[in-house]
Amino acid sequence: MKLTCDIDVHHLTRVEGHGNIHIRIRNGEVVKAQWEVVETPRFFEAMLVGKKWENAPYLCGRICGICSIGHTLASIRAVENCFNIVPSEQTAKLRLLLKHMETLQSHILHLYFLAAPDFLNTGSVFPLIKSHPEVVQRAARLKLLANDCCDVIGGRRLHPTRTVVGGFTMLPDKYQLEQLRQRLETSMADLEQSAELFASFAIPDFSRETEFVSLKGKGSYPFIGGSLVSTDGVELPENEYLQMTNEYCVENSTSKWSRLSRDSFAVGSLARLNNNFAHLHPSAQEVAKGLGLAPVNHNPFMNNVAQLVECVHVVQDAIRLIRELTAAEWQEVRQQVTPQAGTGVAAVEVPRGILYHCYECDQDGRIVKADCVIPTSQNHANIQHDIQALADNYAKKGSSDKEIELLAEMLVRAYDPCISCSVH
Amino acid sequence: MIFKVIAKQELAKLFEALLANRVVGPVRKGSDKNGTPIYSFEVVYDFTQLQLDYTSTQYPAKRFFLPYTETLCTFEIAGDSWEKKVDFNIYQPQVLFGLHACDINALNKLDKVLLESAYPTPYYASKRKNMFIVGIDCEPQPYCFCRSMGTDTALHGFDMFLTDLGKKYFVEIQSAAAYNYLKHMQTSDPTEEDHLRYMAVEEARHEKFMAQVDTTDLTKILDMEFQSEVWKHWGDKCLSCGTCASVCPTCYCYGVAETVDLDLKHAAKMKHLHSCNLIDFAEVAGGHNFRPDSHTRLKYRYYHKHRGFVEAFEESLCVGCGRCGEACLANITVPEVIASVRHEEI
């Protein structure tokens, strides 16, 4: 039993963006456990007002450097939904492939560069270059592969250049796609070794009953569009996202927070997996089982494992997509766009969870109102409640300040928060 | 000079025979917003890819003999000493299949500076001397003024030149290597009728030239009009973007940049084709710029091509292909600029 504890983490490291953690324990009671988001807002939603539709994907990709592809695709989908444009099958496949590769690169970056140092007792990946060179090389290899795929399909790994409303500006070279497929196939060995590495990590034993929100898969593991679902039984169509997110402002956070059936809910890999386990590729399911992950899992630290499972899934699915794309003749690369007045909503599963973009346009396609709801902002409340429970739990166990501090940091990192994105 | 005629379908056989080497030729790269085809010189593997009736390519075949960027040498650094390695980046002969007369003449002009003057450059020589050129006659486009520049026919600088006589090609052979390849095709000696047909085809082609440049006394007129206001007029439009030089088959100016590798153990010297229209082209150490205004730079490009080069080599450094005018977003074209300097109505 721990009686007092003072933890103040200023600008938590190895996460995207700026957040602080404060924990105060007095007489064994957690009197304060706070997740503070201090990131500066950039006002993207206001910036878009008055801008023509073609600006939206270009600007919105810049909400976040890590998931710029996800934002771009969500933005494109919102505009297309507003103008009643249905992407061709080819476009849809290419977008999904691009999406998968972003998922892969983001998950690998998080797992190896941001999360793994905690489990290997270092402060960063840099010492690992010397102590665990094979680990770093494997991470670099996987990341490079994912990035190369993004370059080939989206033109650029970050802030993509080929993705536009109506399709693409230009198609990838089939020969290059084929080469990537071969590399993807050989990368399975690296992923298996990654699974072994994570199996060797001691995942903290902590769980808290949580509501998980994600897209609902229809025949396949969901990534782009579809209906919204929660483990508490809520199910809504894509365009009623507002009822799913219920954003509100809180003190000590420049990001908005969300709630649904309870005080908080979680989105992200674990949420997707909890809701759609059956749709995972069989080899991904196997990896999940091997790592002791089965739905519905309530341990937030298992989000790391869920990410790894998703890596296997996206690699397998990317191989399928490339096979299909290279077997078919290339079709028209880009559809004609005719603006019309209306509102378009897009829900897209980005690495950190479900992302919504919603634009209202006038008849010239000029944006009148814009709304973006970011996965991390939906997670903030849940992070807050998790920290509270975690502090309580480990205080009762009598853990030291240092231990609690590290666990709290690891907990926040497990969500792989994208803070600047959540504030946008 | 040896002339032959071949049936059209024989050409594929020549192509096949040449394929043992790297073959570069005109292919269709895409189309513009109006659906007009855009052609480009690319490495080709299949005769059907070749578009021998192409109008003109947006870019000359320059990258195959004067690459936009080229490594001049690399260094291996060891302490305060080093080893230099030079590689001319050519290991096999290249075939340029389907060059128009202007582009062949462009090579001839480049030869004068890069091959025949003091300090011939081996980077160019290695490519130029390993080139087999099959020329082909062209269909004059509205922007072509090669006839004014005297470059509408190629007198030398190729191995073989084809003229379309309808069902046959009239073939001019200028090298032993080309003669050697004749055995792969069925050829015959031209008849008197073929000669007449050839002359008729050429005459019909000459009729089609529309754009013109009056080069009479041009070197002197350029000198006289050095301070002319028209330069400012064009200078105001000029974007100083270097596009004209980039698409020009005869522009060869360059800049050199040396780089050190991240490992600090290797270094390289790179050459990048530049353009005299670029803002810092005439900047010297210490920051002084001899041509700070866009009009002085634009003027310099014309002086170099139409005056300085003529003084040095008795001919202009422009083959009248019209590419620069077509590519220039500001619509600055050679015929118009020269006409304005001559105080002609345009």
Binding site: T13, G17, I129, T169 | L239
Partner: protein, 272 residues
């Protein structure tokens, strides 16, 4: 990591480097971890002492500070001033730092309160008009781009370590674009800022058939006046031109004239 470096017999010090981010998407920092093949050599040239996004250790003595992002709040201004004091060389890293980046688009609204309300309603939020670093402190080196190009970062870092003059192309993107033998986007019916934007990105966007948006700011002799004519001639509205010119803040000196004739587009009392 501490063995010193040398080049051509000249002893060099491995600079102590810190990375910071103000208001940004952190994409430029992410670029640092890209180009995996040369990652080890890159980090061997430097001694990273602070890199919050990638490492937990933190040391406040550094020679070179890479600062990403623009300044949008008083605390960022203070942080920046402290960084300036500590660093011998301050690098504005990416277009947000160099020009304000996309963030500065909110500055275009006359009514900044409307901007706050549009996003946060009545919730009190602290923010200022967006400023590039150079508005607040002296900047020694600019690395342009949204995102920055890793190849260029590598070159600049090597030049810095070796003691070479850091040079940027002064000419526009068209040069890079032509060297890649692209079909000009104007021929394809797309607008492009290539003719006025500083080269050095290897025509990243035009290579992918996306017109340039000017993320690297103006080339040294940018003839924006002529570009206006060209855009009009190709049927693009001045709104399209404005969208691109004002996107990253690099062309702020050129956009004023274009904004006037525009209609009041922002609703709820926002004026442009």
């Amino acid at each position: 990591m501490s063995a010193e470096l040398s080049y051509m017999g000249v002893d060099l010090t491995r600079p102590r480097v810190a990375f910071f981010e103000l208001s940004s998407c952190e994409g430029c920092q992410l670029q640092l971890l890209n180009k995996e093949a040369s990652l080890l050599d890159f980090f061997n040239l430097l001694q990273v002492v602070q890199f919050r996004e990638a490492m937990s250790e933190k040391d406040d003595t550094y020679d070179v500070a890479f600062v990403e992002g623009s300044v949008t709040r008083a605390d960022e201004e203070e942080r920046l001033k402290i960084i300036r004091k500590r660093a011998k060389i301050l690098i504005a890293f990416g277009s947000c730092a160099c020009f304000g980046g996309v963030n500065q688009l909110k500055n275009r609204f006359a009514d900044q309160d409307w901007v706050k309300r549009e996003v946060y309603g009545d919730f009190a939020i602290d923010t200022q008009p967006v400023r590039p670093l150079a508005d607040i402190v002296e900047v020694d080196v600019n690395i342009y781009g949204c995102p920055v190009k890793k190849e260029e970062v590598e070159r600049i870092v090597t030049d810095l370590v070796v003691g070479k003059t850091i040079l940027y192309p002064k000419y526009p993107v068209c040069m890079d674009c032509k060297a890649n033998e692209n079909i000009c986007l104007f021929d394809l019916g797309e607008p492009c800022l290539g003719p006025v934007t500083r080269a050095g990105c290897d025509a990243w966007c035009p290579n992918n058939r996306m017109g340039c948006w000017g993320c690297r700011g103006p080339a040294e002799a940018a003839n924006v006046e002529q570009l206006k004519n060209i855009m009009a001639e190709h049927g693009f509205s001045s709104e399209t031109l404005l969208d691109r010119l004002e996107c990253f803040g690099g062309f702020s000196a050129f956009v004023d004239g274009l904004r006037q004739p525009q209609q009041d587009t922002g609703k709820q009392g926002s004026g442009i």
